[in-house]
């Protein structure tokens, strides 16, 4: 039987696509595989072992930076989400108003400005504040990460809000709810998937942020990414692969959860 003429087929495209997917995953796969290597090599397989994971877990410094990273991500994402909810309410489902473009530009600025520029900008400000106040705690990192996470938390919340049927709030008002009650009992519960997605995205972004942290952190405030960046200059053992693999697994967990939440909506 003759093969039918498939208008969607373009010769060679499938092969390139498959190759692309392989290229995309091969380096990560190699990284993960060698984290289980019994030997110290990144290229010669000496058998399966969990020794590098044991080493990573036993490394006090890795423990410290991991906990700091997770704590920072949770706080920054939480604050960014708390700020993004009212910001989304202020800018969604409203007729155009003067200054709206300004607000959008401000909210999305961290997406547009290269991280290195934000990094040195914060370095300048933080250095100045440090000199004048003597404070060198975690607040700088928290504030910097929060600002950086705001657009990522804002986008899914806004997207969710846009799919919300405004008649529901009208119906609540019709049923004697005042504006606060309408928000509390109708809008907020329906926003939860967007809020959860926003938080998760913010969490992953904060966890990934390396440049800003590198320039803002004071001594002893390394996060997992800046710790890794520092280690990459040295001779690397598969312990780094083990740390990276764990890190990857955590990101994957959050991204999957984000996908499931956003797909369920509507």
């Amino acid at each position: 039987m003759a093969k039918s003429y498939d208008v969607r087929r373009l010769p060679g495209f499938g092969a390139i696509a498959v190759l692309t997917f392989i290229l995309l995953y091969l380096p990560i796969l190699v990284l993960v595989v060698f984290s289980f290597n019994a030997g110290p090599s990144q290229s010669e397989w000496d058998g399966f072992s969990l020794q590098w994971y044991v080493a990573a877990f036993g490394n006090q410094q890795v423990q410290d930076v991991s906990i700091r990273s997770l704590w920072l991500a949770a706080v920054a994402a939480g604050m960014a989400t708390a700020l993004a909810v009212p910001a989304a309410l202020a800018t969604t489902r409203v007729s155009r108003f003067p200054g709206q473009t300004m607000i959008y530009a401000l909210i999305n600025q961290p997406l547009m400005v290269p991280e290195i520029v934000t990094g040195i900008a914060l370095l300048i400000v933080v250095a100045w504040v440090k000199v004048n106040t003597g404070y060198s705690g975690m607040a700088y990192l928290v504030l910097a990460h929060t600002a950086f996470c705001i657009p990522f938390a804002y986008l899914p919340i806004r997207a969710r809000l846009e799919t919300l049927d405004p008649t529901l709030e009208t119906a609540a008002a019709d049923l004697y709810a005042n504006p606060w009650q309408a928000f509390r009992y109708i809008t907020l519960p329906l926003l939860v998937p967007g809020i959860a997605a926003g938080f998760m995205l913010g969490f992953v972004i904060s966890l990934d942020t390396v440049v800003i942290t590198e320039f803002v952190k004071s001594a002893g405030q390394d996060t997992l990414p800046t710790y890794m960046l520092g280690q990459l200059r040295r001779v690397i053992t598969p312990e780094m692969n083990a740390i990276a693999t764990l890190f990857l697994a955590l990101s994957l967990l959050f991204v999957t959860a984000f996908f499931l939440i956003t797909r369920k909506r509507g």
Binding site: D165, T167, L168, T170, A171, A172, A173, D174, L175, Y176, A177, N178, Q181, Y185, I186, P189, L190
Partner: protein
């Protein structure tokens, strides 16, 4: 019957300046307590805007709106004894059926026991007892409709507003819900203000109908009046099928006018109140297709040549051409042995006594 809603000189303008849009003009309306009142008109005629103004979702630009004697034009929707059944039902998707129904009472701060008993009563009223714990997404469209009704009725409003609530249902379900609505209104005694673009729905369900077009109320009356005594060309055209005949006035007397029909015969026609045409003036006279009957050629009020006839089961629509070229449609009841008239044949048309009416415009 006491007056429930009193609307005087009400208007609504959206936007400003050049972009201003007059959605409602000079609305005067008085709706009685316990009445089933329908706002009927094509889409964009302002009926939904009027409903939203009564509900409090829009504030009027001018005029007064009284509910049970209280001026409410400046009050928010949550301060009016009025509840709405929305076109898409607007059920809260994250709440169960029972929670939806109890929402209004909860917002009013009623004690839990009272909420529970009212919810149970409402569930019984709309026959949804078995579905109390389901989410809106887990019940059918018709059931959602019942829940929306129960939710709006639960706080015992003085007025229930219904915004095309049946338009999303299929024909069979719609018929069912029509009688359901009538039953609920009878049992609760609440004033219903019903918005629809479906003239048949309006005619079968309403105590009174207001026909709207372009932001104005054109005619307000009982279904019988609206159907049989339209005062306005739009109303006559929008409700049912109508023959419009342009005819000269032959004579005037106290009861009405005599007009000259195509073909030269004269016939009496009713005049609307306040209209005094002069003799010889051309006016528009209307008659419903079922109000004329067939006769032998020359034996009726006028003759017509058959152009086409269309079989509809219970009746046949016969399209005729009158002597001066105007068209005329006649609806004849079918019986098994009646054959369709031949195209090209000439037939007489007899107009029933008192069925011809002159329109205002």
């Amino acid at each position: 019957m006491s007056v429930e809603i009193e609307i005087t000189g009400l208007g609504k303008i959206f936007g400003q300046g050049a972009a201003a849009f007059r959605a409602l003009s000079d609305i005067n309306l008085s709706i009685g307590t316990g009445e089933f009142f329908t706002l009927l008109g094509p889409s964009g005629c302002g009926k939904t805007t009027l409903l939203r103004v009564i509900a409090g979702f829009e504030s009027p630009s001018m005029g007064s709106l009284k509910i049970n004697g209280d001026e409410v034009a400046a009050k928010g929707p949550n301060a009016r004894p009025v509840n709405t059944v929305f076109q898409n039902y607007a059920l809260f998707p994250h709440m169960s059926v029972a929670q939806n129904i109890g929402f209004g009472l909860k917002m009013l701060g009623k004690p839990k026991a009272e909420i529970d008993s009212t919810v149970a009563e409402m569930l019984r009223l709309v026959r949804m007892e078995a579905m109390a714990d389901r989410k809106p997404s887990e019940i059918s469209g018709g059931q959602q409709q019942r829940v929306a009704l129960a939710r709006a009725l639960a706080p015992r409003p003085r007025v229930l507003l219904l915004d095309e609530p049946l338009s999303a249902l299929d024909l069979k379900l719609r018929k069912e819900m029509q009688s359901e609505l009538k039953r609920l209104q009878g049992e609760t005694g609440i004033t219903f203000v019903f918005v629809t673009h479906d003239q048949e729905e309006a005619l079968t369900m309403s105590d009174r109908i207001a026909v709207m077009s372009a932001g104005r109320i054109l005619q307000c009356g009982t279904p019988h009046d609206i159907y049989h005594a339209p005062t306005d060309r739009f109303v006559a055209d929008f409700i049912g099928d109508t023959n419009f005949l342009t005819v000269p006035v032959a004579a005037l007397d106290d009861q009405g006018a005599t007009v000259t029909l195509p073909g030269g015969a004269q016939a009496a026609a009713r005049l609307p109140e306040g209209m005094r045409p002069v003799t010889g003036e051309e006016v528009t006279a209307v008659i419903r297709p079922e109000q004329a009957t067939l006769a032998e050629p020359g034996a009726g009020d006028m003759d017509g040549v058959v152009e086409t006839s269309t079989f509809f089961g219970t009746d046949t629509h016969i399209h005729l051409k009158l002597a001066d070229g105007q068209g005329f449609v006649l609806r004849r009841q079918n019986t098994a042995d009646l054959a369709a008239p031949d195209p090209g044949s000439t037939l007489g048309i007899a107009l029933g006594a008192g069925t011809l009416r002159i329109l205002k415009d």
